[in-house]
Amino acid sequence: MSTVPSRAAASAALLALPLVGGCMTPVRSTVIPMGDAPARYHAGPVVILALRDPPRADALGEVHIEGVATLEEAMPAFIERVRQLGGNVARVDRVTPRVGVRAVTDYLQSNCGSYRFPVPCTRPYVRNVEVIDLRVEGRAFRVEAAR
């Protein structure tokens, strides 16, 4: 059984951090504005619909969110993008789940030396892990308040 000095482990962890961090996919979002009116940020509440369009609404644009695993991660990003378009109502047209495979770099620590003269080694290896990718597609609307 090999013993790895804590210093080597710490350096390996430091080395792995940016590499693994670089492999992680952050939330990706796309906004496709409709019309040429400049978007004004809407700081108020946003109504979410899933099965119908709001009445008397002006469509402001499409919003796509990707790179998240759960609705709790996707919806705040979705709402924020709707706000950026100036929308106070949004319709979620589609929530599409996907299961993908992503390569993750891990580090194997072992003893390269002999029993009497142990030399700690750190060797990178790539393993595939399944990741969930939720894609939320929707549209932002602006509805003026009923009087």
Partner: protein, 177 residues
């Protein structure tokens, strides 16, 4: 011998997990005993009032489409819904994800919002079967979300009380009273 079987059963049970996520967008009702119907995203969507976006994730021995859909169905029933619409499933080797919209069939959301009355505090407690506190209400201004273990969902007594919508008041005047 019997002990060995118990160990095997416990080991197998520990090899899989189903988690359910939801984002509430409509009035949540009391748990329903009526089995929720499931409609694919590729078929026609019947008229219904949306209540929540739901997602079920199964891993290991639970990475099965049927189990994920069953989890969606149970989650919908726990919110008083009788249907899960627009169901989509993605399967991997060790992970399965299903998404859908929990809804009440044959209802228009605007009418549902009008008849929704805030239930008494006593009725609120425990109606979501998620173990979360109902005071303050589990929904926020932008719609509440929470994750539960699918096994926790419990189709309890079917009560007609309907909690107010998670969504803020609609600007076109469909505010729940």
């Amino acid at each position: 011998m019997r002990r060995a079987w118990v160990v095997v059963a416990v080991a197998l049970a520990g090899c899989g997990h189903t988690s359910v996520h939801r984002w509430v967008i409509g009035p949540v009702g009391a748990p329903s005993r009526v089995p929720a119907r499931v409609f694919s995203a590729r078929g026609a969507t019947p008229p219904a009032a949306e209540v929540a976006l739901v997602e079920a994730v199964g891993t290991g021995t639970h990475a099965d489409g049927d189990q994920a859909i069953e989890a969606l169905r149970r989650e919908a029933q726990s919110m008083g819904c009788d249907a899960v619409l627009r169901v989509e499933v993605a399967q991997g080797a060790n992970t399965t994800v299903a998404t859908g919209v929990a809804a009440r069939l044959g209802q228009r959301a605007d009418l549902l919002a009008r008849v929704a009355e805030p239930p008494p505090m006593a009725a609120l407690t425990g109606t979501t079967a998620t173990g979360e506190s109902s005071v303050p209400p589990p929904w926020s201004v932008q719609g509440a979300a929470n994750a539960t273990d699918a096994g926790v969902s419990d189709a309890g007594a079917s009560d007609a009380s309907v909690a107010p919508s998670a969504n803020p008041a609609a600007p076109w005047g469909e505010a729940p009273r």
